[in-house]
């Protein structure tokens, strides 16, 4: 790539050629990036025999949809899919509630312990004890009899990610003039009413980002539901269900089911991304670097 740039530097007339070479380079990287996804999506329409033989063909010799039917009916993927949706939507709702209100309060009010909360939120973005936190939470869930409910998974997933979302909302709040609140207060709105009637509608763009990011977070959660559904197959989301198949003895040969399962896990979030890629990308830079 450096070579290409320097050739553009020598002859300005060859700028077009240089730009075309750069374009080719970007295209190759794009194809390499896309390849695994295309491979699994097209592969899920192949017969298991074709998958087990392998080969370099991306498209199936014979197109079939049986893999999806089998995965959906026999391999419990309908249950996994419903669980994934419950987790993702649950995480999204809880994240919107907690980060919207916390972001508003933290940016608009001074109260005792505010700095402490900021500090702790920030610290736990960096302090990482890895999987260890799952153990006490697992035991806590057992003692509260919540270990077989997806609620604990939703709660923990939302809690682990909330700092980012709170900081996203907090930094977005700074762009909303305080005069708005003051005017509403003079008109008789309470602090909470200002939030509901004035602020919430204005927060819509950033809350859309929070909604998408947290939905993705819940949908893609893996180790957390793996731990919580170790003994309860009926509560597994797609990520756990599909990968479990890979590790189980008789599933190792069922490539077609795993391909179909992986495709079912990928496609919904991919469609959402294609429609709303702007929000995903802006959410990243708005939260992590600026916030």
């Amino acid at each position: 790539m450096f070579k290409k740039e320097s050739s553009g530097e020598v002859m300005s007339t060859s700028t077009h050629v240089a730009r075309f070479i750069l374009f080719l380079f970007m295209l190759i990287v794009a194809l390499l990036t896309l390849y695994p996804v295309l491979y699994v999506v097209f592969g899920s329409f192949k017969e298991n025999g074709e998958l087990l033989i392998g080969g370099i063909n991306m498209f199936p010799k014979v197109w079939i949809v049986d893999n999806f039917i089998e995965a959906w009916q026999k391999a419990d993927f309908s249950v996994y899919t419903i669980n994934s949706v419950i987790i993702a939507v649950g995480v999204m709702i809880l994240s919107l509630i907690s980060s919207g209100m916390a972001g508003y309060v933290l940016s608009r009010r001074n109260f005792k312990g505010k700095k402490l909360i900021y500090g702790l939120l920030m610290a736990f973005m960096f302090i990482n004890v890895g999987s260890v936190s799952l153990r006490p939470l697992f035991e806590l869930a057992i003692s509260l009899h919540l270990n077989t409910s997806l609620f604990s998974v939703i709660f923990i997933s939302a809690g682990t990610a909330q700092a980012t979302y709170i900081f996203l909302v907090d930094s977005y709040m700074k762009t909303l003039p305080k005069e708005l609140d003051e005017a509403a207060t003079i008109d008789g709105c309470t602090f909470f009413q200002v939030y509901i009637h004035i602020i919430l509608p204005l927060l819509r763009p950033i809350l859309a980002t929070v909604a998408l990011l947290s939905f993705r977070g819940g949908w893609n959660e893996y180790i957390l539901p793996l731990v919580f559904t170790m003994t309860d197959q009926a509560k597994r989301p797609l990520t756990v269900g599909v990968t479990m198949l890979k590790n189980s003895g008789d599933g190792a040969a069922a490539w077609n089911i795993m391909f179909a399962g992986a495709t079912i896990a990928i496609i919904p979030i991919l469609l959402i991304y294609i429609v709303a890629s702007k929000y995903f990308i802006e959410g990243l830079t708005g939260g992590a670097v600026k916030g």
Binding site: F2, G8, P36, A102, S131, F192, Y222, A262, L284
Partner: protein, 312 residues
């Protein structure tokens, strides 16, 4: 008439006080969900860690074992090997992912046709579940019917299948390929936002001075990017040390512990494997040590970044 007026006059300050207290109550109530999540999900597990540090605990019963967990750690070659692998993995990941992300971000800023579509494509892997994409790569890397071997054989690069995930010479590279694939789009977006904050007239004056593409990149872009670059590196370092989800799916730390990283090792101690029971007290000690190691690395990096500032 005058009576009601007097009443409201008396009431007014009282209502003001009420509004104040009600705002206070609202503050507490509105912070409640976030604070509850913070306490339960972040603070409680962290404090819990210290409870079992001196115990042998298998999930059912616990025995006080004093400093045994600590002495065991110093002699645990498997753990220290996993620490070594974590460093190897993190350093290699950063060596590949940061330059790639920076190059792609720089190319993006050249406003080449199709940039918008490319940006969406490069960022796409970060949207997909790490576990699922690791599994898909598991298919691609498969020794007998994997597509990677098929392609390499068809092009004559190899004559015999390579067991990418099962061979200790290649497993780490396979894991790294998945990590770079899954993460470069993330850092590219960070760099793009850094690049867009560099004022345009700086580039214009460089062009007038006759600086070429490469000169501009190294003399202007990189130095101007430097504050942002440090933040991005910091994020990349902490993220690279944390990764274990995809390794768990791809190799489960194998072959022969070749891709065993410390957080995966700890996970296996915490919840046990098919052949071993949980050893929670010991896992608590190791995760504290792991957190300290990451802390030291981050601290050293920040120190180094500051030193570089003084030099440059």
């Amino acid at each position: 008439m005058s009576e009601t007026k007097a009443k409201t006059a008396v009431k007014a300050p009282k209502r003001g006080m009420d509004a104040n207290t009600s705002a206070k109550i609202a503050t507490v109530l509105m912070m409640f969900p976030a604070v509850l999540l913070l306490c339960v999900v972040s603070i409680y597990p962290f404090l819990w860690l210290f409870r079992y540090v001196f115990y042998d605990y298998n999930g059912m019963t616990s025995y006080f074992t004093g400093l045994h967990n600590f002495t065991r750690m110093f002699g645990d070659t498997a753990f220290w090997a996993s620490v070594g692998h974590t460093f190897e993995y993190a350093i290699l990941k950063i060596i590949f992912i940061i330059p790639l992300a920076l190059i792609m971000a720089e190319l993006m800023s050249q406003k080449i046709r199709g940039s918008g579509v490319f940006r969406v494509i490069y960022f796409m892997p970060t949207i997909i579940s790490t576990a699922i994409s690791a599994m898909v790569f598991g298919f691609i890397f498969a020794a007998y019917n994997g597509v990677l071997n098929a392609v390499l054989r068809a092009t004559g690069i190899i004559s015999q299948n390579i067991n990418w995930l099962g061979d200790s010479n290649t497993a780490m590279w396979a894991v790294l390929i998945v990590a770079v694939w899954g993460g470069f789009g993330n850092y590219m977006i960070y760099f793009m936002s850094g690049l867009s904050s560099i004022p345009h007239d700086v580039y214009e004056s460089a062009m007038i001075d006759g600086a070429g593409g490469l000169t501009t990149f190294f003399r202007i872009t990189l130095p101007m990017l430097s504050p942002m670059f440090k933040v991005i590196m910091m994020l990349a370092i902490t993220a690279a040390f944390k990764d274990y989800e995809s390794i768990m799916v791809l190799t489960q730390g194998g072959p022969d512990n070749r891709t065993q990283v410390m957080f995966l090792y700890i996970y296996q101690l915490l919840f046990g494997t098919s052949t071993t029971k949980p050893q929670i007290g010991y896992a608590c000690v190791l995760s504290l040590v792991a957190a300290i190691i990451v802390g030291i690395v981050t601290g050293l990096y920040m120190l180094l970044a500051r030193k570089l500032d003084d030099v440059m």
